[in-house]
Symmetry: C2
Subunit: 115 residues, 2 copies
DNA sequence: GCATTATTTAACTACTTGATTAATTAACCG
DNA sequence: CGGTTAATTAATCAAGTAGTTAAATAATGC
């Protein structure tokens, strides 16, 4: 799987509120499938599938602990997405600066004596 | 559309390499549908649909200019995703720090005289 | 070994996505 | 006006996604 495929998988995995909620839960620490499923009004197999999607995208890893499958958050794909967004930061910064200058020009023209 | 739905739409829109390539193109400036389609080995209607997905996610806006439909990059959804990733930054920072400490401990135990 | 708990697999359904080609709409230009 | 260019809509198809219930697998613990 190349870099683009990894981004595809990570973005697709994050495009569902249940999966983002699962990650938010795991940000507080490792948890079992049942523990992760508990807040949802959704069958266990459905949650199990969401977890599989997160695992395939590398957003979590799993280890067996007795009868439990403990899920752990992996941050690398989120870091990759964060990096991806950075290539656009100069654009939003530039637009913000331009907006500031514009507002300042309006202010100055209002301050001109005789107007 | 609430905040979660907006993230859903943005993440889903970004989960396709053609759509990310279109955004990368628009980062260099506004462009028509045909100009955006040119690099792809894909029919024009297919590209048109990708553009529609980006528009619905708020990642671009369009304006008619004579016979052209000029597309412009909108950065807000990318900023939202960037913000979303920030809630996980302390985790990857903490793990990075822990890794550094671990390596340092190994180094120190190797430096101990008599070992 | 057997009941219990944890989780996955299977089979199915409804809906969405990504692509195609053909047809249509819209605006320009000579 | 009529031809050309730009772009979308329509119809269609294959594949993928999100959910369900029922059955299967796996490990625990009396």
């Amino acid at each position: 799987m190349n870099e683009s495929d990894q981004l595809d998988a990570a973005f697709a995995a994050l495009a569902h509120p249940a999966r983002r909620a699962i990650l938010a839960h795991l940000a507080r620490g490792t948890a079992s499938v049942n523990a992760l499923a508990e807040p949802f009004d959704m069958s266990l197999p459905a949650v199990s599938k969401h977890i599989r999607v997160l695992e395939n995208a590398g957003l979590i890893t799993r280890e067996r602990d007795a009868q439990f499958r403990l899920c752990t958050l992996e941050t690398k794909p989120i870091q990759n997405i964060s990096s991806w967004t950075e290539q656009y930061r100069h654009i939003w910064d530039a637009r913000f600066d331009a907006m500031g200058k514009l507002l300042n020009d309006i202010k100055e023209s209002n301050d001109e004596p005789g107007h």
